[in-house]
Amino acid sequence: MSEIALFGAVEIGLVYALVAVGVYLSFRVLDFPDLTVDGSFPLGAAVCAVLLIAGVNPWLASLAAGLAGAAAGLVTAVLNVRFKILHLLASILTMIALFSVNLRVMGRPNVALLMQDTVLTPFYGLGLPDHIVRPLVVLVIVAAVVLLLARFLSSEYGLAMRATGVNARMARAQGINTDAHICSGIALSNGLCGLAGALFAQTNGFADVTTGIGTIVVGLAAVIVGETVLPARALLLALVGCVVGSILYRLAVQVALTADVIGLQASDLNLVTALLVAVALILPRLKGKSRAVRAAR
Protein backbone atom coordinates (compact mmCIF):
# COMPACT_ATOMS: atom_id res chain seq x y z
CA MET A 1 0.00 0.00 0.00
CA SER A 2 1.39 3.40 -0.92
CA GLU A 3 1.65 6.23 1.58
CA ILE A 4 -1.12 8.14 -0.20
CA ALA A 5 -3.40 5.11 -0.15
CA LEU A 6 -2.65 4.62 3.54
CA PHE A 7 -3.52 8.20 4.49
CA GLY A 8 -6.50 8.05 2.16
CA ALA A 9 -7.83 5.05 4.05
CA VAL A 10 -7.29 6.79 7.40
CA GLU A 11 -9.03 9.90 6.08
CA ILE A 12 -12.11 8.08 4.84
CA GLY A 13 -12.09 6.05 8.07
CA LEU A 14 -12.18 9.26 10.07
CA VAL A 15 -15.02 10.69 7.98
CA TYR A 16 -17.04 7.52 8.56
CA ALA A 17 -16.08 7.58 12.25
CA LEU A 18 -18.81 10.19 12.66
CA VAL A 19 -21.25 7.73 11.08
CA ALA A 20 -19.97 5.04 13.45
CA VAL A 21 -20.50 7.26 16.47
CA GLY A 22 -24.01 8.08 15.22
CA VAL A 23 -24.78 4.41 14.67
CA TYR A 24 -23.47 3.66 18.16
CA LEU A 25 -25.95 6.20 19.49
CA SER A 26 -28.93 4.67 17.71
CA PHE A 27 -28.09 0.95 17.77
CA ARG A 28 -26.28 0.69 21.09
CA VAL A 29 -27.42 3.56 23.30
CA LEU A 30 -31.05 3.75 22.21
CA ASP A 31 -31.39 0.15 20.98
CA PHE A 32 -33.12 1.59 17.90
CA PRO A 33 -31.99 -0.05 14.62
CA ASP A 34 -32.02 2.99 12.39
CA LEU A 35 -31.32 2.72 8.65
CA THR A 36 -32.06 6.40 8.00
CA VAL A 37 -28.30 7.00 7.83
CA ASP A 38 -28.22 5.60 4.27
CA GLY A 39 -30.23 8.70 3.36
CA SER A 40 -28.98 11.26 5.85
CA PHE A 41 -25.32 10.77 4.88
CA PRO A 42 -25.82 11.72 1.19
CA LEU A 43 -28.34 14.36 2.31
CA GLY A 44 -25.57 16.01 4.32
CA ALA A 45 -23.24 15.78 1.34
CA ALA A 46 -25.87 17.22 -1.00
CA VAL A 47 -26.85 20.11 1.26
CA CYS A 48 -23.22 20.99 1.91
CA ALA A 49 -22.23 20.82 -1.78
CA VAL A 50 -25.16 22.95 -2.94
CA LEU A 51 -24.50 25.57 -0.26
CA LEU A 52 -20.79 25.67 -1.07
CA ILE A 53 -21.54 26.30 -4.72
CA ALA A 54 -23.92 29.07 -3.62
CA GLY A 55 -20.97 30.66 -1.85
CA VAL A 56 -21.95 29.93 1.74
CA ASN A 57 -19.22 29.71 4.40
CA PRO A 58 -17.98 26.06 4.53
CA TRP A 59 -18.47 25.80 8.32
CA LEU A 60 -22.01 27.10 8.00
CA ALA A 61 -22.64 24.72 5.12
CA SER A 62 -21.39 21.80 7.24
CA LEU A 63 -23.59 22.89 10.12
CA ALA A 64 -26.59 23.08 7.78
CA ALA A 65 -25.76 19.56 6.54
CA GLY A 66 -25.81 18.33 10.15
CA LEU A 67 -29.15 20.03 10.79
CA ALA A 68 -30.61 18.50 7.60
CA GLY A 69 -29.51 15.06 8.78
CA ALA A 70 -31.04 15.70 12.19
CA ALA A 71 -34.34 16.67 10.58
CA ALA A 72 -34.31 13.39 8.61
CA GLY A 73 -33.69 11.47 11.83
CA LEU A 74 -36.53 13.31 13.51
CA VAL A 75 -38.90 12.16 10.76
CA THR A 76 -37.99 8.52 11.43
CA ALA A 77 -38.32 8.92 15.20
CA VAL A 78 -41.70 10.63 14.95
CA LEU A 79 -42.98 7.93 12.57
CA ASN A 80 -41.99 5.41 15.22
CA VAL A 81 -42.98 6.97 18.56
CA ARG A 82 -45.97 9.01 17.44
CA PHE A 83 -47.44 6.77 14.76
CA LYS A 84 -46.18 3.43 16.10
CA ILE A 85 -44.54 2.31 12.86
CA LEU A 86 -41.89 -0.35 13.54
CA HIS A 87 -38.52 1.41 13.95
CA LEU A 88 -36.82 -0.55 11.18
CA LEU A 89 -39.64 0.12 8.72
CA ALA A 90 -39.94 3.77 9.72
CA SER A 91 -36.25 4.28 8.99
CA ILE A 92 -36.48 2.48 5.64
CA LEU A 93 -39.38 4.74 4.63
CA THR A 94 -37.37 7.84 5.45
CA MET A 95 -34.31 6.43 3.71
CA ILE A 96 -36.23 5.74 0.49
CA ALA A 97 -37.86 9.16 0.59
CA LEU A 98 -34.48 10.82 1.09
CA PHE A 99 -33.19 9.39 -2.19
CA SER A 100 -35.71 11.59 -4.03
CA VAL A 101 -35.13 14.48 -1.65
CA ASN A 102 -31.39 14.33 -2.31
CA LEU A 103 -31.94 14.41 -6.08
CA ARG A 104 -34.16 17.46 -5.60
CA VAL A 105 -31.61 19.19 -3.36
CA MET A 106 -28.86 18.79 -5.94
CA GLY A 107 -31.06 19.03 -9.02
CA ARG A 108 -29.03 16.20 -10.58
CA PRO A 109 -27.46 12.90 -9.44
CA ASN A 110 -24.09 14.38 -8.56
CA VAL A 111 -22.40 17.68 -7.95
CA ALA A 112 -18.68 18.32 -8.32
CA LEU A 113 -16.84 20.70 -6.01
CA LEU A 114 -13.90 21.95 -8.01
CA MET A 115 -12.95 25.49 -7.12
CA GLN A 116 -15.09 25.97 -4.04
CA ASP A 117 -13.56 26.78 -0.69
CA THR A 118 -14.04 24.02 1.89
CA VAL A 119 -13.28 23.77 5.60
CA LEU A 120 -9.94 22.32 4.47
CA THR A 121 -8.86 25.21 2.22
CA PRO A 122 -7.21 27.40 4.92
CA PHE A 123 -5.04 24.47 6.03
CA TYR A 124 -3.64 23.51 2.63
CA GLY A 125 -1.14 26.35 2.59
CA LEU A 126 0.61 25.46 5.85
CA GLY A 127 3.40 23.39 4.36
CA LEU A 128 2.08 19.87 4.91
CA PRO A 129 1.17 17.70 1.93
CA ASP A 130 -2.55 17.67 1.11
CA HIS A 131 -3.00 13.96 1.78
CA ILE A 132 -1.87 14.53 5.38
CA VAL A 133 -3.72 17.81 5.94
CA ARG A 134 -7.09 16.24 5.11
CA PRO A 135 -7.04 13.43 7.73
CA LEU A 136 -5.57 15.82 10.30
CA VAL A 137 -8.39 18.35 9.95
CA VAL A 138 -11.01 15.60 10.01
CA LEU A 139 -9.29 14.09 13.06
CA VAL A 140 -9.62 17.35 14.97
CA ILE A 141 -13.32 17.58 14.10
CA VAL A 142 -13.93 13.95 15.06
CA ALA A 143 -12.07 14.38 18.35
CA ALA A 144 -14.18 17.42 19.21
CA VAL A 145 -17.39 15.55 18.37
CA VAL A 146 -16.38 12.52 20.45
CA LEU A 147 -15.49 14.63 23.49
CA LEU A 148 -18.72 16.63 23.27
CA LEU A 149 -20.81 13.50 22.83
CA ALA A 150 -19.17 11.73 25.78
CA ARG A 151 -19.84 14.79 27.93
CA PHE A 152 -23.44 14.91 26.68
CA LEU A 153 -24.06 11.25 27.50
CA SER A 154 -22.71 11.79 31.02
CA SER A 155 -25.19 14.60 31.67
CA GLU A 156 -28.54 14.16 33.36
CA TYR A 157 -30.21 14.38 29.97
CA GLY A 158 -27.78 11.93 28.35
CA LEU A 159 -28.11 9.47 31.20
CA ALA A 160 -31.88 9.58 30.76
CA MET A 161 -31.34 8.82 27.06
CA ARG A 162 -29.22 5.79 27.93
CA ALA A 163 -31.84 4.58 30.41
CA THR A 164 -34.46 4.91 27.66
CA GLY A 165 -32.49 2.43 25.55
CA VAL A 166 -31.79 -0.02 28.37
CA ASN A 167 -35.13 -0.17 30.19
CA ALA A 168 -37.88 2.09 28.89
CA ARG A 169 -40.38 1.03 31.53
CA MET A 170 -38.00 1.90 34.34
CA ALA A 171 -37.15 5.16 32.60
CA ARG A 172 -40.80 6.18 32.43
CA ALA A 173 -41.28 5.30 36.09
CA GLN A 174 -38.41 7.71 36.81
CA GLY A 175 -40.26 10.48 34.99
CA ILE A 176 -38.29 10.26 31.75
CA ASN A 177 -40.26 11.09 28.63
CA THR A 178 -38.89 8.19 26.59
CA ASP A 179 -40.52 9.36 23.34
CA ALA A 180 -38.77 12.72 23.52
CA HIS A 181 -35.44 11.06 24.22
CA ILE A 182 -35.82 8.71 21.26
CA CYS A 183 -36.60 11.70 19.03
CA SER A 184 -33.64 13.79 20.18
CA GLY A 185 -31.28 10.79 20.16
CA ILE A 186 -32.15 9.67 16.63
CA ALA A 187 -31.99 13.28 15.43
CA LEU A 188 -28.54 13.66 16.96
CA SER A 189 -27.40 10.35 15.44
CA ASN A 190 -28.48 11.40 11.96
CA GLY A 191 -27.14 14.90 12.48
CA LEU A 192 -23.70 13.34 12.93
CA CYS A 193 -24.23 11.34 9.74
CA GLY A 194 -25.22 14.51 7.89
CA LEU A 195 -22.03 16.16 9.13
CA ALA A 196 -20.07 13.10 7.98
CA GLY A 197 -21.67 13.50 4.56
CA ALA A 198 -20.60 17.15 4.47
CA LEU A 199 -17.01 16.19 5.30
CA PHE A 200 -17.14 13.45 2.69
CA ALA A 201 -18.20 15.92 0.02
CA GLN A 202 -15.48 18.38 1.02
CA THR A 203 -12.63 15.88 1.25
CA ASN A 204 -13.57 14.04 -1.94
CA GLY A 205 -14.73 17.02 -3.97
CA PHE A 206 -18.15 15.75 -4.92
CA ALA A 207 -21.60 14.77 -3.68
CA ASP A 208 -23.46 11.86 -5.24
CA VAL A 209 -26.86 10.35 -4.42
CA THR A 210 -25.47 6.82 -4.53
CA THR A 211 -22.79 7.39 -1.86
CA GLY A 212 -25.38 6.56 0.78
CA ILE A 213 -25.80 2.91 -0.16
CA GLY A 214 -24.51 0.68 2.60
CA THR A 215 -23.61 3.53 4.94
CA ILE A 216 -25.39 1.76 7.79
CA VAL A 217 -23.39 -1.43 7.23
CA VAL A 218 -20.12 0.50 7.20
CA GLY A 219 -21.10 2.30 10.39
CA LEU A 220 -22.14 -0.92 12.06
CA ALA A 221 -18.93 -2.62 10.93
CA ALA A 222 -16.92 0.15 12.55
CA VAL A 223 -18.90 -0.14 15.80
CA ILE A 224 -18.44 -3.91 15.92
CA VAL A 225 -14.75 -3.82 15.04
CA GLY A 226 -14.30 -1.13 17.69
CA GLU A 227 -16.07 -3.21 20.31
CA THR A 228 -13.90 -6.18 19.49
CA VAL A 229 -10.64 -4.25 19.60
CA LEU A 230 -11.54 -2.03 22.55
CA PRO A 231 -14.06 -3.85 24.72
CA ALA A 232 -14.61 -0.95 27.11
CA ARG A 233 -17.55 -0.17 29.33
CA ALA A 234 -16.53 3.44 29.87
CA LEU A 235 -18.43 5.77 27.56
CA LEU A 236 -15.53 7.82 26.20
CA LEU A 237 -13.55 4.67 25.44
CA ALA A 238 -16.53 3.09 23.69
CA LEU A 239 -16.80 6.17 21.46
CA VAL A 240 -13.05 6.12 20.79
CA GLY A 241 -13.53 2.45 19.93
CA CYS A 242 -16.00 3.47 17.21
CA VAL A 243 -13.40 5.82 15.71
CA VAL A 244 -10.62 3.23 15.90
CA GLY A 245 -12.97 0.61 14.48
CA SER A 246 -13.85 2.84 11.56
CA ILE A 247 -10.17 3.44 10.69
CA LEU A 248 -9.23 -0.23 11.09
CA TYR A 249 -12.14 -1.24 8.91
CA ARG A 250 -10.98 1.08 6.12
CA LEU A 251 -7.41 -0.16 6.40
CA ALA A 252 -8.60 -3.76 6.24
CA VAL A 253 -10.66 -3.01 3.16
CA GLN A 254 -7.74 -1.18 1.60
CA VAL A 255 -5.43 -4.13 2.20
CA ALA A 256 -7.97 -6.58 0.86
CA LEU A 257 -8.48 -4.56 -2.31
CA THR A 258 -4.83 -3.75 -3.01
CA ALA A 259 -3.37 -7.18 -2.31
CA ASP A 260 -3.13 -8.52 -5.85
CA VAL A 261 -2.79 -12.10 -4.64
CA ILE A 262 -6.44 -12.18 -3.55
CA GLY A 263 -7.52 -10.80 -6.90
CA LEU A 264 -10.28 -8.51 -5.59
CA GLN A 265 -11.50 -5.45 -7.48
CA ALA A 266 -12.84 -2.14 -6.17
CA SER A 267 -16.32 -3.28 -7.13
CA ASP A 268 -16.04 -6.11 -4.58
CA LEU A 269 -16.10 -3.55 -1.75
CA ASN A 270 -19.66 -4.20 -0.61
CA LEU A 271 -19.14 -7.97 -0.62
CA VAL A 272 -15.97 -7.57 1.46
CA THR A 273 -17.82 -5.26 3.86
CA ALA A 274 -20.72 -7.64 4.32
CA LEU A 275 -18.32 -10.55 4.90
CA LEU A 276 -16.33 -8.52 7.40
CA VAL A 277 -19.44 -7.60 9.40
CA ALA A 278 -20.71 -11.16 9.31
CA VAL A 279 -17.36 -12.50 10.54
CA ALA A 280 -17.17 -9.83 13.26
CA LEU A 281 -20.65 -10.83 14.42
CA ILE A 282 -19.97 -14.56 14.32
CA LEU A 283 -16.52 -14.56 15.98
CA PRO A 284 -17.58 -13.45 19.50
CA ARG A 285 -20.28 -16.11 19.45
CA LEU A 286 -17.79 -18.84 18.50
CA LYS A 287 -15.39 -17.55 21.16
CA GLY A 288 -18.15 -17.75 23.79
CA LYS A 289 -19.02 -21.26 22.68
CA SER A 290 -15.47 -22.57 22.82
CA ARG A 291 -15.11 -21.01 26.26
CA ALA A 292 -18.27 -22.79 27.40
CA VAL A 293 -16.98 -26.07 25.97
CA ARG A 294 -13.69 -25.65 27.82
CA ALA A 295 -15.51 -24.81 31.04
CA ALA A 296 -17.65 -27.91 30.66
CA ARG A 297 -14.58 -30.09 30.49
Partner: protein, 265 residues
Protein backbone atom coordinates in the same frame (compact mmCIF):
# COMPACT_ATOMS: atom_id res chain seq x y z
CA UNK B 1 -52.90 11.30 50.50
CA UNK B 2 -54.56 9.32 47.75
CA UNK B 3 -58.21 9.70 46.76
CA UNK B 4 -59.62 7.19 44.31
CA UNK B 5 -63.21 7.59 43.15
CA UNK B 6 -65.04 4.87 41.29
CA UNK B 7 -62.30 3.92 38.83
CA UNK B 8 -62.92 1.39 36.09
CA UNK B 9 -60.38 -0.26 33.83
CA UNK B 10 -61.22 -2.63 30.98
CA UNK B 11 -58.63 -4.44 28.89
CA UNK B 12 -59.35 -5.48 25.31
CA UNK B 13 -62.69 -3.72 25.17
CA UNK B 14 -64.90 -5.10 22.43
CA UNK B 15 -62.80 -8.22 21.88
CA UNK B 16 -63.60 -11.78 22.96
CA UNK B 17 -60.86 -11.40 25.60
CA UNK B 18 -62.45 -8.33 27.19
CA UNK B 19 -61.52 -8.15 30.86
CA UNK B 20 -63.15 -5.72 33.24
CA UNK B 21 -60.14 -5.58 35.58
CA UNK B 22 -61.24 -2.77 37.91
CA UNK B 23 -64.95 -2.37 38.58
CA UNK B 24 -65.37 0.76 40.61
CA UNK B 25 -62.78 1.19 43.32
CA UNK B 26 -63.45 3.89 45.91
CA UNK B 27 -60.71 4.58 48.39
CA UNK B 28 -59.18 7.30 50.51
CA UNK B 29 -55.71 6.71 51.92
CA UNK B 30 -54.57 9.37 54.38
CA UNK B 31 -51.05 10.75 54.26
CA UNK B 32 -48.42 8.45 55.74
CA UNK B 33 -50.60 5.35 55.84
CA UNK B 34 -49.02 2.00 54.93
CA UNK B 35 -51.60 -0.16 53.19
CA UNK B 36 -51.13 -3.80 52.26
CA UNK B 37 -53.14 -5.22 49.37
CA UNK B 38 -54.02 -8.88 48.91
CA UNK B 39 -56.20 -10.82 46.52
CA UNK B 40 -56.04 -13.90 44.34
CA UNK B 41 -54.56 -13.95 40.84
CA UNK B 42 -56.51 -11.72 38.50
CA UNK B 43 -58.16 -9.80 41.35
CA UNK B 44 -56.86 -6.55 39.91
CA UNK B 45 -54.06 -5.79 42.38
CA UNK B 46 -51.40 -5.02 39.80
CA UNK B 47 -53.88 -3.19 37.59
CA UNK B 48 -54.85 -1.04 40.57
CA UNK B 49 -51.21 -0.16 41.21
CA UNK B 50 -50.74 0.45 37.48
CA UNK B 51 -53.74 2.78 37.51
CA UNK B 52 -52.21 4.75 40.38
CA UNK B 53 -48.83 4.92 38.63
CA UNK B 54 -50.29 5.92 35.25
CA UNK B 55 -49.39 2.76 33.30
CA UNK B 56 -53.09 2.20 32.66
CA UNK B 57 -55.48 5.12 32.47
CA UNK B 58 -58.87 4.69 34.13
CA UNK B 59 -61.69 5.02 31.61
CA UNK B 60 -64.03 6.23 34.32
CA UNK B 61 -63.59 7.76 37.74
CA UNK B 62 -61.01 10.06 39.28
CA UNK B 63 -57.62 9.70 40.94
CA UNK B 64 -56.08 12.42 43.06
CA UNK B 65 -52.69 12.34 44.73
CA UNK B 66 -52.21 15.06 47.33
CA UNK B 67 -55.12 17.17 46.07
CA UNK B 68 -53.71 16.93 42.56
CA UNK B 69 -56.05 15.42 39.97
CA UNK B 70 -53.80 13.01 38.05
CA UNK B 71 -56.52 10.98 36.30
CA UNK B 72 -55.32 11.91 32.79
CA UNK B 73 -51.58 12.05 33.55
CA UNK B 74 -49.25 9.48 32.01
CA UNK B 75 -46.50 7.65 33.91
CA UNK B 76 -43.60 10.11 33.38
CA UNK B 77 -45.80 13.01 34.46
CA UNK B 78 -46.85 11.23 37.65
CA UNK B 79 -43.31 10.17 38.47
CA UNK B 80 -42.72 13.26 40.60
CA UNK B 81 -45.45 12.05 42.93
CA UNK B 82 -45.09 8.29 42.62
CA UNK B 83 -42.14 6.03 43.46
CA UNK B 84 -42.29 2.33 42.67
CA UNK B 85 -40.55 -0.97 43.12
CA UNK B 86 -41.48 -3.76 40.75
CA UNK B 87 -41.89 -7.47 41.34
CA UNK B 88 -39.17 -8.37 38.84
CA UNK B 89 -35.78 -7.18 40.16
CA UNK B 90 -34.75 -6.65 36.51
CA UNK B 91 -37.66 -4.30 35.81
CA UNK B 92 -36.87 -1.54 38.26
CA UNK B 93 -33.26 -0.86 37.32
CA UNK B 94 -31.04 -0.55 34.25
CA UNK B 95 -28.85 -3.64 34.15
CA UNK B 96 -26.12 -2.26 31.91
CA UNK B 97 -25.77 1.02 33.78
CA UNK B 98 -23.72 1.23 36.97
CA UNK B 99 -25.20 1.36 40.46
CA UNK B 100 -24.41 5.04 40.79
CA UNK B 101 -25.87 5.82 37.37
CA UNK B 102 -29.08 4.08 38.39
CA UNK B 103 -29.13 6.11 41.59
CA UNK B 104 -28.54 9.33 39.65
CA UNK B 105 -31.51 8.46 37.42
CA UNK B 106 -33.70 7.96 40.48
CA UNK B 107 -32.41 11.05 42.27
CA UNK B 108 -33.71 13.20 39.40
CA UNK B 109 -37.10 11.49 39.27
CA UNK B 110 -39.82 13.93 38.34
CA UNK B 111 -37.38 16.78 37.80
CA UNK B 112 -36.10 18.50 34.67
CA UNK B 113 -32.99 16.80 33.39
CA UNK B 114 -30.45 19.28 32.06
CA UNK B 115 -26.93 19.15 30.71
CA UNK B 116 -25.19 19.21 34.08
CA UNK B 117 -23.08 16.19 34.95
CA UNK B 118 -25.25 13.39 36.28
CA UNK B 119 -22.53 12.23 38.65
CA UNK B 120 -20.86 15.22 40.21
CA UNK B 121 -18.51 14.25 43.01
CA UNK B 122 -20.54 15.54 45.98
CA UNK B 123 -23.52 13.66 44.66
CA UNK B 124 -21.44 10.51 44.36
CA UNK B 125 -20.44 10.78 48.00
CA UNK B 126 -24.07 11.22 48.97
CA UNK B 127 -24.91 7.99 47.13
CA UNK B 128 -22.04 6.20 48.82
CA UNK B 129 -23.33 7.16 52.27
CA UNK B 130 -26.86 6.12 51.43
CA UNK B 131 -25.86 2.75 50.05
CA UNK B 132 -23.45 2.09 52.92
CA UNK B 133 -26.43 2.38 55.27
CA UNK B 134 -27.87 -0.75 53.62
CA UNK B 135 -25.07 -2.77 55.21
CA UNK B 136 -24.58 -4.87 52.06
CA UNK B 137 -21.06 -3.67 51.32
CA UNK B 138 -22.22 -2.12 48.04
CA UNK B 139 -20.55 1.22 48.81
CA UNK B 140 -17.36 -0.05 47.17
CA UNK B 141 -19.17 -1.29 44.09
CA UNK B 142 -20.77 1.94 42.87
CA UNK B 143 -19.02 1.55 39.51
CA UNK B 144 -20.28 -1.99 39.03
CA UNK B 145 -23.04 -2.61 36.58
CA UNK B 146 -26.43 -3.19 38.19
CA UNK B 147 -26.74 -6.51 36.37
CA UNK B 148 -23.94 -7.95 38.49
CA UNK B 149 -26.01 -7.70 41.68
CA UNK B 150 -28.21 -10.48 43.04
CA UNK B 151 -31.99 -10.14 42.96
CA UNK B 152 -32.12 -9.21 46.64
CA UNK B 153 -29.40 -6.60 46.29
CA UNK B 154 -31.16 -5.11 43.30
CA UNK B 155 -34.46 -4.87 45.19
CA UNK B 156 -32.68 -3.26 48.15
CA UNK B 157 -31.07 -0.69 45.84
CA UNK B 158 -34.44 -0.19 44.10
CA UNK B 159 -36.02 0.65 47.46
CA UNK B 160 -33.23 3.06 48.19
CA UNK B 161 -33.72 4.63 44.75
CA UNK B 162 -37.44 4.98 45.41
CA UNK B 163 -36.63 7.18 48.41
CA UNK B 164 -33.87 9.27 46.78
CA UNK B 165 -36.17 11.86 45.26
CA UNK B 166 -39.12 13.28 47.12
CA UNK B 167 -42.39 11.54 46.38
CA UNK B 168 -45.87 11.42 47.80
CA UNK B 169 -46.64 7.75 47.44
CA UNK B 170 -44.67 4.50 47.20
CA UNK B 171 -46.06 1.57 45.23
CA UNK B 172 -44.62 -1.88 45.90
CA UNK B 173 -45.84 -4.59 43.55
CA UNK B 174 -44.99 -7.92 45.21
CA UNK B 175 -41.44 -6.67 45.42
CA UNK B 176 -40.29 -9.66 47.50
CA UNK B 177 -42.05 -12.39 45.51
CA UNK B 178 -38.96 -13.27 43.45
CA UNK B 179 -36.65 -13.51 46.47
CA UNK B 180 -35.74 -16.36 48.82
CA UNK B 181 -37.34 -16.14 52.33
CA UNK B 182 -34.30 -14.74 54.17
CA UNK B 183 -33.68 -12.08 51.52
CA UNK B 184 -37.39 -11.30 51.41
CA UNK B 185 -37.34 -10.64 55.17
CA UNK B 186 -34.36 -8.36 54.78
CA UNK B 187 -36.03 -6.41 51.99
CA UNK B 188 -39.27 -6.16 53.98
CA UNK B 189 -37.42 -4.82 57.02
CA UNK B 190 -35.73 -2.29 54.79
CA UNK B 191 -39.13 -1.39 53.35
CA UNK B 192 -40.49 -0.73 56.81
CA UNK B 193 -37.49 1.42 57.65
CA UNK B 194 -37.62 3.48 54.47
CA UNK B 195 -41.37 4.00 54.68
CA UNK B 196 -41.07 5.15 58.30
CA UNK B 197 -38.05 7.41 57.79
CA UNK B 198 -39.56 9.12 54.74
CA UNK B 199 -43.16 9.04 56.02
CA UNK B 200 -44.33 7.73 52.66
CA UNK B 201 -47.92 6.88 51.87
CA UNK B 202 -47.44 3.29 50.77
CA UNK B 203 -49.35 0.58 48.97
CA UNK B 204 -47.77 -2.86 49.09
CA UNK B 205 -49.24 -5.68 47.05
CA UNK B 206 -48.37 -9.07 48.47
CA UNK B 207 -49.33 -12.64 47.91
CA UNK B 208 -48.81 -13.57 51.53
CA UNK B 209 -51.62 -13.02 54.05
CA UNK B 210 -49.03 -13.23 56.81
CA UNK B 211 -47.08 -10.27 55.37
CA UNK B 212 -50.28 -8.38 54.72
CA UNK B 213 -51.18 -8.48 58.41
CA UNK B 214 -47.67 -8.10 59.82
CA UNK B 215 -46.73 -5.00 57.88
CA UNK B 216 -48.46 -1.64 57.59
CA UNK B 217 -51.52 -0.10 59.20
CA UNK B 218 -54.34 -1.20 56.95
CA UNK B 219 -55.17 -4.16 54.75
CA UNK B 220 -57.28 -4.23 51.60
CA UNK B 221 -58.53 -7.32 49.86
CA UNK B 222 -59.40 -7.08 46.18
CA UNK B 223 -61.61 -9.53 44.40
CA UNK B 224 -62.74 -9.31 40.79
CA UNK B 225 -61.83 -5.66 40.55
CA UNK B 226 -63.52 -4.52 43.75
CA UNK B 227 -62.40 -3.87 47.30
CA UNK B 228 -64.11 -6.62 49.30
CA UNK B 229 -62.33 -6.12 52.60
CA UNK B 230 -60.88 -3.02 54.21
CA UNK B 231 -59.60 -3.41 57.77
CA UNK B 232 -57.44 -1.26 59.99
CA UNK B 233 -56.90 -0.34 63.64
CA UNK B 234 -58.05 -2.72 66.36
CA UNK B 235 -60.17 -4.86 64.04
CA UNK B 236 -57.05 -5.59 62.04
CA UNK B 237 -54.88 -6.11 65.10
CA UNK B 238 -57.19 -8.91 66.22
CA UNK B 239 -57.04 -10.67 62.87
CA UNK B 240 -55.01 -13.72 62.03
CA UNK B 241 -54.57 -15.54 58.75
CA UNK B 242 -57.48 -17.99 59.39
CA UNK B 243 -59.79 -15.06 60.17
CA UNK B 244 -58.76 -13.39 56.99
CA UNK B 245 -59.43 -16.55 55.05
CA UNK B 246 -62.87 -16.87 56.62
CA UNK B 247 -63.64 -13.24 55.83
CA UNK B 248 -62.45 -13.76 52.32
CA UNK B 249 -64.66 -16.83 51.89
CA UNK B 250 -67.64 -14.93 53.27
CA UNK B 251 -67.08 -12.07 50.87
CA UNK B 252 -67.05 -14.48 48.00
CA UNK B 253 -70.41 -15.90 49.11
CA UNK B 254 -69.06 -18.91 50.94
CA UNK B 255 -67.00 -20.22 48.06
CA UNK B 256 -63.92 -22.24 48.94
CA UNK B 257 -60.49 -20.70 48.56
CA UNK B 258 -59.06 -22.19 45.43
CA UNK B 259 -55.88 -20.24 45.09
CA UNK B 260 -53.24 -22.14 47.05
CA UNK B 261 -50.74 -19.36 46.92
CA UNK B 262 -52.94 -17.24 49.16
CA UNK B 263 -52.60 -19.81 51.95
CA UNK B 264 -48.84 -19.99 51.88
CA UNK B 265 -46.89 -18.05 54.49
Amino acid sequence: MIVVQDIHVTFGRGTPLEKHALRGIDLTIPEGEFVTVIGSNGAGKSTFLGALAGDVLAEQGRIAIDECDVTRWDTPKRAGLVARVFQDPLAGTCATLTIEENMALAAARGQRRGLGLALASERRNGFRDRIAALGLGLENRLHDRMGLLSGGQRQAVSLLMAALAGSKILLLDEHTAALDPATADFVLDLTRRIVRDNRLTTLMVTHSMRQALDYGDRTLMLHEGRVVLDVSGTTRAGLDVPHLLALFAKQRGGAEISDDSLLIG
